[in-house]
């Protein structure tokens, strides 16, 4: 067993175990903790897949931002000590059956496809030009594999496609979706601040 395989099994086990623990836990704060464990381990899977920038963004945005937001939401919406929001056992049993059926469907469809043949057929006639092979002369090793190509792709240029030997293409990048995403984030934050603004709380027994 190589080191890559060992790390894959560790990260995959922690990711899947954390996700299942999120489903089985009834306490919301513990659910948030298991979600942190699961998302952090999946960032490790991203590092194993040579996607170092995506893994870093996962750690920064998900674990550092989104989950802190979720925990604040848990704190601000604490229910009373006598209100119980448990799932009924019958519903849990039914959900377990549906989960096993859905997992069996997805797993059998993943395992029934011969992925080597699919990959070979999509690469018919041309060699796989991954960005790692292209970057060898351009990036210093401490800058990571994907930082520069991802930045160029977001600016609308694709040197990882167009600079390959023998290609005469001019690929388009992701400048317009990047701008749309930034304006979308601005609109979303203004809308969230408007929705969550401080209001006088209406007690149900007053009205």
């Amino acid at each position: 067993m190589t080191g890559h395989q060992f790390l894959f099994w560790v990260f995959a086990a922690v990711t899947c175990g954390g996700a299942i623990a999120v489903v089985l836990t009834q306490n919301v704060v513990r659910m948030a903790f298991w979600l942190i464990v699961s998302l952090g381990a999946s960032a490790g899977l991203f590092f194993l897949l040579n996607a170092d920038f995506v893994g870093t963004a996962q750690l920064l945005v998900y674990v550092g931002g989104t989950l802190v937001l979720l925990v604040f939401g848990v704190m601000l919406t604490a229910s009373g000590p006598f209100s119980k929001m448990q799932t009924r056992p019958g519903e849990l049993f039914l959900a377990g059956i549906v989960a096993f059926l859905l997992l069996g469907l997805l797993g059998s469809s993943v395992c029934s496809v011969d992925w080597d043949r699919v990959v070979a057929s999509t690469n018919a006639g041309q060699p796989i030009t991954t960005h790692h092979a292209l970057n060898q002369g351009y990036n210093r090793p401490e800058e990571g594999n994907t930082g520069h190509p991802l930045g160029m792709a977001f600016l609308g240029m694709r040197p990882d496609r167009d600079l390959a030997p023998g290609t005469k293409t001019l690929s388009t990048g992701y400048l317009l979706p990047f701008e749309i995403a930034s304006v979308h984030l601005l609109v979303v934050l203004i809308g969230a601040a408007y929705l969550a603004r401080a209001k006088r709380r209406i007690h149900p027994n007053e009205s």
Binding site: L45, V54, A153
Partner: protein, 100 residues
């Protein structure tokens, strides 16, 4: 490791997220299920980016998914806070005012 083992991890995350969305009665628990589903899709995108000709495009799409998940969490938490301010609970079974 080959592609299908990463796809199986993504499938487990997807199923866990769907079951979490379906069974949790707490509104924030439903949100956590959505995050799990998006993360399973992200693992699939990055795995295909590494093993097939998809290349860098898969990583770009997974970055967009991360950004959209952050935006979605912000809006959904604002809605949850607004609902809590009006109803003093976050139980999604109580959110039946629009029921016909």
């Amino acid at each position: 490791m080959d592609l299908s083992s990463y796809l199986l991890v993504g499938a487990v995350l997807f199923v866990a997220g769907v079951v979490c969305m379906a069974t949790k009665r707490n509104g924030i628990g439903v949100l956590m299920g959505v995050e799990l589903v998006l993360n399973g899709a992200n693992i699939n995108f990055v795995a295909f980016a590494n093993y097939t000709k998809l290349g860098l495009d898969g990583q770009v799409i997974s970055l967009f998914v991360i950004v959209m998940a952050a935006a979605e969490a912000a809006v959904a938490l604002a809605i949850a806070l607004s609902f809590y301010n009006n109803h003093l609970t976050i139980d999604v079974d109580q959110a039946n005012q629009l029921q016909g």
